[in-house]
Amino acid sequence: MIFNPEFSAQQQHTTSPIVTGGSVIALAYKGGVVVGVDTLCSYGSMADFKNVEKIAQVSKNTIYVSSGEFSDFQQVVRELAKIDRSALQYDDGVHPSPRDYGNYLARLSYKRRCKINPLYLQNVIAGFHNGERYLGLVDIYGTYLESNFVTTGFASYFCKAIISNYWNDNCTLDQAKQVIRECFKVLFCRDCRAHDVIQLAYVDEQGAHLEQPERVETKWDFSGFKNRANEKLHTQ
Protein backbone atom coordinates (compact mmCIF):
# COMPACT_ATOMS: atom_id res chain seq x y z
CA MET A 1 0.00 0.00 0.00
CA ILE A 2 1.32 3.44 -0.93
CA PHE A 3 1.71 5.71 2.03
CA ASN A 4 -0.72 8.58 1.62
CA PRO A 5 -0.33 11.37 4.20
CA GLU A 6 -3.94 12.44 3.77
CA PHE A 7 -5.24 9.02 4.68
CA SER A 8 -3.17 8.67 7.81
CA ALA A 9 -4.94 11.64 9.34
CA GLN A 10 -8.28 9.86 9.20
CA GLN A 11 -9.15 6.90 11.31
CA GLN A 12 -8.89 3.72 9.30
CA HIS A 13 -11.61 1.13 9.67
CA THR A 14 -10.75 -2.52 9.29
CA THR A 15 -12.73 -3.62 6.29
CA SER A 16 -10.75 -6.67 5.34
CA PRO A 17 -8.04 -8.65 7.06
CA ILE A 18 -4.50 -8.91 5.73
CA VAL A 19 -2.63 -11.60 7.63
CA THR A 20 -5.05 -14.25 8.76
CA GLY A 21 -5.09 -17.36 10.89
CA GLY A 22 -7.13 -20.46 10.10
CA SER A 23 -9.88 -22.41 11.79
CA VAL A 24 -9.99 -23.15 15.48
CA ILE A 25 -11.64 -26.25 16.94
CA ALA A 26 -12.26 -26.62 20.66
CA LEU A 27 -13.95 -29.51 22.46
CA ALA A 28 -14.78 -30.22 26.06
CA TYR A 29 -13.79 -33.62 27.37
CA LYS A 30 -14.24 -35.29 30.72
CA GLY A 31 -12.03 -33.23 33.00
CA GLY A 32 -11.23 -30.26 30.80
CA VAL A 33 -11.26 -28.61 27.41
CA VAL A 34 -8.95 -29.10 24.45
CA VAL A 35 -8.26 -26.63 21.62
CA GLY A 36 -6.62 -27.16 18.25
CA VAL A 37 -5.47 -24.65 15.65
CA ASP A 38 -3.08 -24.81 12.74
CA THR A 39 0.24 -22.98 12.68
CA LEU A 40 -0.29 -20.99 9.52
CA CYS A 41 -0.74 -17.29 8.95
CA SER A 42 -1.83 -16.59 5.39
CA TYR A 43 -1.16 -13.41 3.48
CA GLY A 44 -4.23 -13.56 1.32
CA SER A 45 -3.87 -16.81 -0.56
CA MET A 46 -0.15 -17.10 0.13
CA ALA A 47 0.92 -19.42 2.93
CA ASP A 48 3.31 -16.86 4.34
CA PHE A 49 4.16 -17.75 7.93
CA LYS A 50 4.07 -21.46 8.52
CA ASN A 51 5.38 -21.81 12.05
CA VAL A 52 3.25 -19.51 14.08
CA GLU A 53 2.21 -20.56 17.59
CA LYS A 54 -1.24 -19.15 17.89
CA ILE A 55 -2.33 -20.39 21.29
CA ALA A 56 -2.00 -17.75 24.01
CA GLN A 57 -2.10 -18.62 27.67
CA VAL A 58 -3.67 -15.58 29.26
CA SER A 59 -3.71 -16.91 32.81
CA LYS A 60 -2.94 -20.06 34.70
CA ASN A 61 -6.21 -21.73 33.76
CA THR A 62 -7.28 -19.90 30.61
CA ILE A 63 -6.15 -20.07 27.00
CA TYR A 64 -7.14 -17.87 24.10
CA VAL A 65 -7.06 -18.64 20.39
CA SER A 66 -8.66 -16.93 17.46
CA SER A 67 -9.00 -17.05 13.72
CA GLY A 68 -8.92 -13.94 11.58
CA GLU A 69 -6.62 -10.95 11.47
CA PHE A 70 -3.46 -11.96 13.30
CA SER A 71 -2.44 -8.48 14.41
CA ASP A 72 -5.82 -8.14 16.13
CA PHE A 73 -5.14 -11.46 17.85
CA GLN A 74 -1.85 -10.09 19.15
CA GLN A 75 -3.54 -6.94 20.36
CA VAL A 76 -6.24 -8.88 22.19
CA VAL A 77 -3.57 -11.00 23.90
CA ARG A 78 -2.05 -7.75 25.23
CA GLU A 79 -5.45 -6.51 26.39
CA LEU A 80 -6.22 -9.74 28.20
CA ALA A 81 -2.78 -9.78 29.81
CA LYS A 82 -3.57 -6.37 31.29
CA ILE A 83 -6.48 -7.84 33.19
CA ASP A 84 -4.39 -10.60 34.68
CA ARG A 85 -1.80 -8.04 35.71
CA SER A 86 -4.44 -6.09 37.62
CA ALA A 87 -4.26 -8.79 40.27
CA LEU A 88 -0.65 -7.73 40.81
CA GLN A 89 -1.58 -4.07 41.01
CA TYR A 90 -4.32 -4.57 43.58
CA ASP A 91 -2.26 -7.21 45.36
CA ASP A 92 -5.35 -9.11 46.42
CA GLY A 93 -4.74 -12.48 44.79
CA VAL A 94 -8.04 -12.33 42.92
CA HIS A 95 -7.63 -13.65 39.39
CA PRO A 96 -10.28 -13.44 36.71
CA SER A 97 -11.98 -16.68 35.81
CA PRO A 98 -12.12 -17.90 32.19
CA ARG A 99 -15.70 -16.65 32.01
CA ASP A 100 -14.57 -13.17 33.05
CA TYR A 101 -12.16 -13.14 30.11
CA GLY A 102 -14.85 -14.35 27.76
CA ASN A 103 -17.28 -11.66 28.81
CA TYR A 104 -14.62 -8.96 28.71
CA LEU A 105 -13.68 -9.94 25.20
CA ALA A 106 -17.34 -9.92 24.18
CA ARG A 107 -17.73 -6.36 25.46
CA LEU A 108 -14.51 -5.30 23.75
CA SER A 109 -15.60 -6.81 20.44
CA TYR A 110 -19.05 -5.29 20.67
CA LYS A 111 -17.62 -1.86 21.38
CA ARG A 112 -15.40 -2.10 18.32
CA ARG A 113 -18.31 -3.35 16.22
CA CYS A 114 -20.35 -0.35 17.23
CA LYS A 115 -17.61 1.93 15.94
CA ILE A 116 -17.63 0.03 12.64
CA ASN A 117 -13.98 -0.80 13.29
CA PRO A 118 -14.08 -4.38 14.42
CA LEU A 119 -11.49 -6.65 15.82
CA TYR A 120 -11.53 -8.91 12.79
CA LEU A 121 -11.58 -12.13 14.78
CA GLN A 122 -13.56 -15.16 15.78
CA ASN A 123 -12.34 -15.73 19.32
CA VAL A 124 -12.26 -18.84 21.46
CA ILE A 125 -11.60 -18.71 25.20
CA ALA A 126 -11.03 -22.05 26.89
CA GLY A 127 -10.48 -22.72 30.56
CA PHE A 128 -11.12 -24.70 33.70
CA HIS A 129 -12.20 -22.99 36.91
CA ASN A 130 -13.56 -24.27 40.22
CA GLY A 131 -14.11 -27.74 38.85
CA GLU A 132 -16.04 -26.47 35.85
CA ARG A 133 -15.03 -26.57 32.20
CA TYR A 134 -15.41 -23.38 30.22
CA LEU A 135 -15.52 -22.86 26.48
CA GLY A 136 -16.63 -19.55 25.01
CA LEU A 137 -16.96 -18.18 21.52
CA VAL A 138 -16.90 -14.46 20.75
CA ASP A 139 -17.40 -13.48 17.15
CA ILE A 140 -16.53 -10.39 15.16
CA TYR A 141 -19.76 -8.67 16.23
CA GLY A 142 -19.33 -9.32 19.92
CA THR A 143 -21.80 -12.19 20.07
CA TYR A 144 -21.01 -14.26 23.11
CA LEU A 145 -21.79 -17.97 23.35
CA GLU A 146 -20.78 -20.65 25.78
CA SER A 147 -20.84 -24.22 24.61
CA ASN A 148 -19.08 -27.52 25.05
CA PHE A 149 -17.75 -27.48 21.53
CA VAL A 150 -16.73 -24.55 19.37
CA THR A 151 -15.53 -24.19 15.79
CA THR A 152 -14.54 -21.15 13.77
CA GLY A 153 -14.01 -20.49 10.10
CA PHE A 154 -14.23 -23.37 7.67
CA ALA A 155 -14.27 -25.87 10.51
CA SER A 156 -17.85 -24.78 11.15
CA TYR A 157 -18.77 -26.14 7.73
CA PHE A 158 -16.58 -29.22 7.34
CA CYS A 159 -16.07 -30.46 10.84
CA LYS A 160 -19.38 -30.39 12.66
CA ALA A 161 -20.43 -33.68 11.14
CA ILE A 162 -17.20 -35.34 12.29
CA ILE A 163 -17.55 -33.85 15.75
CA SER A 164 -21.13 -34.90 16.19
CA ASN A 165 -20.39 -38.46 15.03
CA TYR A 166 -17.23 -39.12 16.99
CA TRP A 167 -17.27 -36.88 20.03
CA ASN A 168 -19.29 -36.45 23.19
CA ASP A 169 -18.42 -34.26 26.13
CA ASN A 170 -17.63 -37.23 28.37
CA CYS A 171 -14.87 -38.65 26.21
CA THR A 172 -11.24 -38.89 27.26
CA LEU A 173 -8.59 -36.34 26.40
CA ASP A 174 -7.02 -38.63 23.80
CA GLN A 175 -10.33 -39.29 22.13
CA ALA A 176 -11.04 -35.56 21.90
CA LYS A 177 -7.56 -34.88 20.51
CA GLN A 178 -8.05 -37.59 17.91
CA VAL A 179 -11.31 -36.03 16.77
CA ILE A 180 -9.56 -32.68 16.38
CA ARG A 181 -6.75 -34.29 14.37
CA GLU A 182 -9.31 -35.91 12.07
CA CYS A 183 -11.00 -32.56 11.59
CA PHE A 184 -7.75 -30.86 10.64
CA LYS A 185 -7.00 -33.67 8.18
CA VAL A 186 -10.25 -32.92 6.44
CA LEU A 187 -9.61 -29.20 6.59
CA PHE A 188 -6.18 -29.57 5.06
CA CYS A 189 -7.76 -31.40 2.15
CA ARG A 190 -10.66 -29.06 1.63
CA ASP A 191 -9.80 -25.60 2.99
CA CYS A 192 -7.42 -23.70 0.73
CA ARG A 193 -6.07 -21.65 3.62
CA ALA A 194 -5.37 -24.56 5.92
CA HIS A 195 -2.05 -26.13 6.87
CA ASP A 196 -1.11 -29.60 7.94
CA VAL A 197 0.86 -28.62 11.03
CA ILE A 198 -1.39 -28.07 14.03
CA GLN A 199 -0.98 -27.27 17.69
CA LEU A 200 -3.12 -28.64 20.49
CA ALA A 201 -3.56 -27.34 24.01
CA TYR A 202 -5.75 -28.45 26.87
CA VAL A 203 -6.84 -27.02 30.21
CA ASP A 204 -7.70 -29.20 33.16
CA GLU A 205 -7.71 -28.70 36.90
CA GLN A 206 -3.92 -28.51 36.96
CA GLY A 207 -4.03 -25.57 34.58
CA ALA A 208 -3.21 -25.00 30.93
CA HIS A 209 -0.94 -27.33 28.96
CA LEU A 210 0.36 -26.26 25.57
CA GLU A 211 1.76 -28.97 23.34
CA GLN A 212 4.36 -28.86 20.63
CA PRO A 213 3.12 -28.44 17.06
CA GLU A 214 2.53 -31.72 15.26
CA ARG A 215 2.00 -32.65 11.65
CA VAL A 216 -1.36 -34.06 10.76
CA GLU A 217 -1.26 -37.42 8.96
CA THR A 218 -2.11 -37.09 5.33
CA LYS A 219 -1.89 -39.53 2.51
CA TRP A 220 -0.92 -38.44 -0.96
CA ASP A 221 0.66 -41.62 -2.35
CA PHE A 222 -2.52 -42.95 -3.86
CA SER A 223 -1.82 -45.22 -6.79
CA GLY A 224 -4.07 -43.08 -8.90
CA PHE A 225 -1.88 -40.06 -8.25
CA LYS A 226 1.32 -42.00 -8.80
CA ASN A 227 0.10 -43.57 -11.97
CA ARG A 228 -1.14 -40.29 -13.24
CA ALA A 229 2.31 -38.87 -12.77
CA ASN A 230 3.74 -41.60 -14.99
CA GLU A 231 1.08 -41.30 -17.61
CA LYS A 232 2.11 -40.20 -21.01
CA LEU A 233 -0.28 -37.51 -21.91
CA HIS A 234 -1.46 -36.89 -25.41
CA THR A 235 1.61 -38.46 -26.83
CA GLN A 236 0.17 -41.71 -28.02
Binding site: Y90, D92, V94, R99, D100, N103, Y104, R107
Partner: protein
Amino acid sequence: MLKHLYDTDCVTWSPQGKLFQVEYAMEAVKQGSICLGLKSNEYVVLCSLKRQPSELAGYQEKQFKIDDHMAIAIAGLTADARVLCKYMRTECLEYKYTYESHHPVGRLVFKVAEKSQHKTQSGAKRPYGVGLLVAGIDPNGVHLFETCPSGNYYEYKCQAIGSRSQAARTYFESWFHLFEKSTLEQLILHGLSALKKAIMEDEELNERNVEVGILGKNQKFIHLNAQELKDYIVKLETFNANTQIQQE
Protein backbone atom coordinates in the same frame (compact mmCIF):
# COMPACT_ATOMS: atom_id res chain seq x y z
CA MET B 1 -4.97 25.83 71.62
CA LEU B 2 -1.93 25.04 69.54
CA LYS B 3 -4.01 22.80 67.35
CA HIS B 4 -5.76 25.75 65.73
CA LEU B 5 -2.59 26.93 64.06
CA TYR B 6 -2.30 23.85 61.86
CA ASP B 7 -5.85 22.73 61.26
CA THR B 8 -7.09 25.05 58.56
CA ASP B 9 -6.71 22.71 55.64
CA CYS B 10 -5.55 19.27 54.58
CA VAL B 11 -2.32 20.51 53.10
CA THR B 12 -0.86 21.63 56.43
CA TRP B 13 0.97 19.23 58.67
CA SER B 14 1.25 19.83 62.40
CA PRO B 15 4.71 19.68 63.99
CA GLN B 16 3.67 16.35 65.57
CA GLY B 17 3.08 14.90 62.10
CA LYS B 18 -0.71 15.03 62.18
CA LEU B 19 -3.23 16.24 59.64
CA PHE B 20 -5.83 17.77 61.89
CA GLN B 21 -8.51 18.07 59.24
CA VAL B 22 -8.37 14.32 58.74
CA GLU B 23 -8.51 13.73 62.48
CA TYR B 24 -11.52 16.03 62.78
CA ALA B 25 -13.20 14.09 59.99
CA MET B 26 -12.67 10.88 61.99
CA GLU B 27 -14.45 12.63 64.90
CA ALA B 28 -17.49 13.00 62.67
CA VAL B 29 -17.56 9.23 62.35
CA LYS B 30 -17.36 8.84 66.12
CA GLN B 31 -20.38 11.11 66.49
CA GLY B 32 -22.54 8.97 64.24
CA SER B 33 -24.77 6.36 65.82
CA ILE B 34 -23.25 2.95 66.26
CA CYS B 35 -23.05 0.31 63.60
CA LEU B 36 -21.22 -2.98 63.86
CA GLY B 37 -20.40 -6.00 61.79
CA LEU B 38 -19.28 -9.55 62.51
CA LYS B 39 -18.59 -12.55 60.36
CA SER B 40 -18.50 -16.31 60.52
CA ASN B 41 -17.20 -18.78 57.95
CA GLU B 42 -20.35 -18.35 55.91
CA TYR B 43 -22.16 -15.17 56.88
CA VAL B 44 -21.56 -11.50 57.62
CA VAL B 45 -24.06 -9.68 59.78
CA LEU B 46 -24.38 -5.90 60.04
CA CYS B 47 -26.28 -4.37 62.96
CA SER B 48 -26.96 -0.70 63.42
CA LEU B 49 -28.82 1.59 65.72
CA LYS B 50 -30.96 4.02 63.77
CA ARG B 51 -31.40 7.59 65.00
CA GLN B 52 -34.66 9.40 64.93
CA PRO B 53 -34.12 13.19 64.54
CA SER B 54 -37.45 13.93 66.23
CA GLU B 55 -40.67 12.22 67.27
CA LEU B 56 -42.26 13.22 63.99
CA ALA B 57 -39.43 11.91 61.84
CA GLY B 58 -38.59 8.49 60.52
CA TYR B 59 -35.46 6.60 61.48
CA GLN B 60 -32.33 7.25 59.45
CA GLU B 61 -31.29 4.13 57.57
CA LYS B 62 -27.69 3.12 57.98
CA GLN B 63 -27.27 0.06 55.79
CA PHE B 64 -27.21 0.11 52.03
CA LYS B 65 -27.00 -2.70 49.54
CA ILE B 66 -24.21 -2.21 47.04
CA ASP B 67 -24.74 -5.40 45.07
CA ASP B 68 -26.11 -8.86 45.76
CA HIS B 69 -22.83 -9.83 47.34
CA MET B 70 -21.95 -6.59 49.11
CA ALA B 71 -23.45 -4.10 51.54
CA ILE B 72 -22.30 -1.21 53.71
CA ALA B 73 -23.20 0.20 57.09
CA ILE B 74 -22.37 3.85 57.68
CA ALA B 75 -21.48 6.07 60.60
CA GLY B 76 -21.06 9.80 60.15
CA LEU B 77 -22.31 12.24 57.55
CA THR B 78 -25.10 10.50 55.67
CA ALA B 79 -24.73 12.82 52.70
CA ASP B 80 -21.08 11.82 52.26
CA ALA B 81 -22.10 8.21 52.68
CA ARG B 82 -24.54 8.52 49.81
CA VAL B 83 -21.74 9.72 47.52
CA LEU B 84 -19.58 6.73 48.37
CA CYS B 85 -22.54 4.37 48.14
CA LYS B 86 -23.36 5.63 44.66
CA TYR B 87 -19.74 5.27 43.61
CA MET B 88 -19.56 1.71 44.90
CA ARG B 89 -22.82 0.75 43.21
CA THR B 90 -21.65 2.20 39.92
CA GLU B 91 -18.36 0.35 40.11
CA CYS B 92 -20.14 -2.92 40.83
CA LEU B 93 -22.51 -2.43 37.93
CA GLU B 94 -19.68 -1.63 35.53
CA TYR B 95 -17.74 -4.66 36.66
CA LYS B 96 -20.79 -6.82 36.21
CA TYR B 97 -21.41 -5.36 32.75
CA THR B 98 -17.86 -6.11 31.65
CA TYR B 99 -17.16 -9.42 33.34
CA GLU B 100 -20.61 -10.82 34.26
CA SER B 101 -19.31 -11.52 37.73
CA HIS B 102 -19.16 -9.82 41.11
CA HIS B 103 -16.67 -7.11 41.93
CA PRO B 104 -14.01 -8.49 44.28
CA VAL B 105 -14.69 -6.93 47.67
CA GLY B 106 -11.17 -5.99 48.68
CA ARG B 107 -10.62 -4.29 45.38
CA LEU B 108 -13.67 -2.06 45.73
CA VAL B 109 -12.70 -1.11 49.26
CA PHE B 110 -9.27 -0.24 47.92
CA LYS B 111 -10.86 2.02 45.32
CA VAL B 112 -12.96 3.74 47.97
CA ALA B 113 -9.87 4.20 50.12
CA GLU B 114 -7.99 5.70 47.20
CA LYS B 115 -10.86 8.11 46.58
CA SER B 116 -10.90 9.05 50.26
CA GLN B 117 -7.16 9.60 50.37
CA HIS B 118 -7.40 11.90 47.41
CA LYS B 119 -9.57 14.22 49.47
CA THR B 120 -6.92 14.43 52.16
CA GLN B 121 -4.23 15.76 49.89
CA SER B 122 -5.76 18.87 48.40
CA GLY B 123 -6.09 22.45 49.51
CA ALA B 124 -9.55 22.81 48.11
CA LYS B 125 -11.14 19.61 49.33
CA ARG B 126 -12.25 18.11 52.62
CA PRO B 127 -12.18 14.45 53.64
CA TYR B 128 -15.36 12.38 53.57
CA GLY B 129 -16.92 12.53 57.03
CA VAL B 130 -18.12 8.97 57.08
CA GLY B 131 -16.77 5.58 58.05
CA LEU B 132 -18.05 2.50 56.28
CA LEU B 133 -18.28 -1.08 57.35
CA VAL B 134 -18.20 -3.05 54.10
CA ALA B 135 -19.56 -6.58 54.20
CA GLY B 136 -18.94 -8.72 51.16
CA ILE B 137 -18.56 -12.21 49.75
CA ASP B 138 -16.18 -13.10 46.91
CA PRO B 139 -14.14 -16.10 45.77
CA ASN B 140 -11.61 -15.24 48.47
CA GLY B 141 -14.21 -15.78 51.16
CA VAL B 142 -16.30 -13.77 53.60
CA HIS B 143 -15.11 -10.22 54.28
CA LEU B 144 -15.71 -7.33 56.63
CA PHE B 145 -13.78 -4.13 56.00
CA GLU B 146 -13.73 -0.74 57.68
CA THR B 147 -12.90 2.43 55.76
CA CYS B 148 -11.91 5.73 57.30
CA PRO B 149 -11.95 9.35 56.17
CA SER B 150 -8.17 9.14 56.25
CA GLY B 151 -8.15 6.72 53.33
CA ASN B 152 -7.03 3.77 55.42
CA TYR B 153 -8.90 0.55 55.33
CA TYR B 154 -8.70 -2.56 57.45
CA GLU B 155 -10.14 -6.01 57.33
CA TYR B 156 -11.82 -7.31 60.46
CA LYS B 157 -13.39 -10.38 61.99
CA CYS B 158 -15.75 -8.02 63.77
CA GLN B 159 -15.79 -4.29 64.29
CA ALA B 160 -17.97 -1.52 65.65
CA ILE B 161 -17.83 2.18 64.75
CA GLY B 162 -19.78 5.24 65.84
CA SER B 163 -20.77 6.54 69.22
CA ARG B 164 -20.22 4.28 72.26
CA SER B 165 -18.74 1.66 69.93
CA GLN B 166 -16.05 0.84 72.47
CA ALA B 167 -18.61 -1.00 74.56
CA ALA B 168 -19.50 -3.18 71.58
CA ARG B 169 -15.85 -3.78 70.78
CA THR B 170 -15.28 -4.91 74.38
CA TYR B 171 -18.09 -7.43 73.95
CA PHE B 172 -16.46 -8.62 70.72
CA GLU B 173 -13.09 -9.02 72.36
CA SER B 174 -14.60 -11.45 74.83
CA TRP B 175 -16.56 -13.52 72.35
CA PHE B 176 -15.13 -13.21 68.84
CA HIS B 177 -13.45 -16.61 69.08
CA LEU B 178 -16.93 -18.14 68.82
CA PHE B 179 -18.00 -16.29 65.69
CA GLU B 180 -16.21 -18.35 63.06
CA LYS B 181 -18.28 -21.44 63.70
CA SER B 182 -21.46 -19.70 64.78
CA THR B 183 -24.74 -20.33 63.05
CA LEU B 184 -26.49 -17.39 61.45
CA GLU B 185 -28.89 -17.08 64.36
CA GLN B 186 -26.07 -17.07 66.89
CA LEU B 187 -24.23 -14.48 64.87
CA ILE B 188 -27.24 -12.17 64.79
CA LEU B 189 -27.77 -12.58 68.51
CA HIS B 190 -24.10 -11.79 69.19
CA GLY B 191 -24.45 -8.67 67.05
CA LEU B 192 -27.57 -7.57 68.91
CA SER B 193 -25.93 -8.30 72.26
CA ALA B 194 -23.01 -6.10 71.33
CA LEU B 195 -25.43 -3.42 70.15
CA LYS B 196 -27.25 -3.60 73.46
CA LYS B 197 -24.03 -2.87 75.31
CA ALA B 198 -23.69 0.36 73.42
CA ILE B 199 -27.08 1.93 74.03
CA MET B 200 -27.85 4.38 76.79
CA GLU B 201 -29.69 3.30 79.95
CA ASP B 202 -33.00 4.86 79.00
CA GLU B 203 -32.91 3.44 75.47
CA GLU B 204 -34.12 0.06 74.41
CA LEU B 205 -33.71 -2.02 71.26
CA ASN B 206 -36.87 -2.42 69.27
CA GLU B 207 -37.79 -3.29 65.69
CA ARG B 208 -37.95 0.39 64.74
CA ASN B 209 -34.53 1.60 65.83
CA VAL B 210 -32.50 -1.52 65.02
CA GLU B 211 -31.38 -2.47 61.54
CA VAL B 212 -29.93 -5.90 60.82
CA GLY B 213 -28.60 -6.94 57.44
CA ILE B 214 -27.27 -10.37 56.55
CA LEU B 215 -25.09 -11.60 53.71
CA GLY B 216 -23.93 -15.13 53.10
CA LYS B 217 -22.18 -17.37 50.61
CA ASN B 218 -25.57 -18.51 49.36
CA GLN B 219 -27.54 -15.57 50.68
CA LYS B 220 -27.88 -12.30 48.85
CA PHE B 221 -27.91 -9.25 51.04
CA ILE B 222 -31.24 -8.76 52.83
CA HIS B 223 -32.54 -6.74 55.74
CA LEU B 224 -34.45 -8.51 58.47
CA ASN B 225 -38.05 -7.32 58.44
CA ALA B 226 -39.89 -5.91 61.45
CA GLN B 227 -41.36 -9.25 62.56
CA GLU B 228 -38.01 -11.04 62.35
CA LEU B 229 -36.37 -8.23 64.30
CA LYS B 230 -39.01 -8.48 67.01
CA ASP B 231 -38.43 -12.23 67.27
CA TYR B 232 -34.69 -11.81 67.56
CA ILE B 233 -35.00 -9.09 70.18
CA VAL B 234 -37.18 -11.46 72.20
CA LYS B 235 -34.61 -14.25 71.79
CA LEU B 236 -31.99 -11.82 72.99
CA GLU B 237 -33.50 -11.94 76.48
CA THR B 238 -32.53 -15.58 76.86
CA PHE B 239 -29.37 -15.54 74.76
CA ASN B 240 -26.20 -16.23 76.65
CA ALA B 241 -22.86 -16.52 74.89
CA ASN B 242 -21.76 -18.98 77.57
CA THR B 243 -24.27 -21.54 76.33
CA GLN B 244 -22.59 -21.54 72.95
CA ILE B 245 -19.32 -22.64 74.50
CA GLN B 246 -21.04 -25.53 76.24
CA GLN B 247 -22.43 -26.73 72.92
CA GLU B 248 -19.00 -26.88 71.33
